[in-house]
Amino acid sequence: MTDASQRASLSERVLAGDRRALARLLTSIENDDPLGEQVMERLFPHTGSAHLIGITGPPGGGKSTLVNEMIRAYREMGRSIAVIAIDPSSPLTGGAALGDRIRMQEWHADPGVFIRSMASRRFGGGLARNALAVAHAFDAAGFDPIIIETVGTGQDEVAIASLAMTTLLVQAPGTGDGVQTLKAGALEIGDVLVVTKGDRPEAIELARDLRNLRQLGLAAGSELSRWDTPVIKTSAARREGIDSLMNAIAAHWSWLEETGEMEIRVRTMINTEIAFRVQDALLQGIRRPVTRDGGMQRLVERVAAREITPLLAARELLTRLSHNDTPP
């Protein structure tokens, strides 16, 4: 098969609902294969309508278990749902144990549910480098919503907030160090704050603290904070609060649409995604001379010898990259 016909047939098969082709496309995307990139160029016009939902919060907080309940609710509405579940890669071996799927096994016979695990492959922000491209592929294949479960380091997960239309920030009683450490920034990350494990008595207190925090945020907030961030208490174990959560997610979507905020949000998402790509490409470009001919190493030595500042070294690397130079 020629490259062109291979691209055409893969994209057509994905659009026609071929799960096998979709799964293989996701692999190509994840591995930065040129095929994946080219197929996405064909598929991208078919994307843009799905509700992209991010879910973040500390490990063990109940994210995957909650996603399983969300799958149930969306299936009851007759919607096809895709889940991208990201877990960390070991910085030492590159290996990863991807365990989110274990909480979502009951959908194995349901063609309206597609779950894909991704290792972070050392990409930061709780994401994997190609997670968004994978989301676009799901979008083209007709899944809506698409849920991205991030690594959940507990910190430094702001990235997902500017990469999804609706971000759920999960907090579980007893796992974190409580609301004190949950800075007001939480309200900027989460469009919906979810208290999981609501069957535990301490959940009531956590939900109350979060509501107080929200009140503070509203009092101090500007005109811009028109969305009234809800705090929803859920128990996946007892299947409680899931309807409220689904209503809150739907309300957030309506709010985005009705206020024109969607246009802004979508552009922020695209902006972030492009910036991520550039940042990543630059980093890879800078790293290459390290292994190739010690160009980076030489700069490191010059900084170590206090000949130049780190900032100057960085400028020099960037200049080389932008001039497409072979490093000296």
Binding site: R19, D32, S90, G95, L98, A109, A119, R320
Partner: protein
Amino acid sequence: MGTGQELMSASGQSRPIRVLVAKPGLDGHDRGAKVMARAFRDAGFEVIYTGLFQTPQMIANAALQEDVDVVGISILSGAHMSLFPPIMDALRDVGREDVLVVAGGTIPTEDIPVLNDIGVAKIFGPGTPLQDAVAYIREHAPDRVDLP
């Protein structure tokens, strides 16, 4: 430095091998599966761990959606002769006959050729060093680029 195109697609590393580790059958012992999963992870593989009580359909669906290179089955119960044929059938039904299937557990020598015949590539008995299993997978994980 190359063109922007090269820059954007320059990953530079070989991709990690993706392995599904599953424990079919009705007995509730997943120690073997966990040991297998940990060894594979430490070897640099990306391991999708699905745990206990996996039906053939669950295994096949996970292999399909996760597009794994390898399926590692842990078997303890002695029910291998009844468990493996439906697993291999289910994998074929979802179009994943290309996946490398390996197994770990206690399987009598006389059954091994039968399992090999239905497509189980390799069986690692209880004494097998985990490095051997890792080395086998490194060598035999299919190099899959094109869609069948």
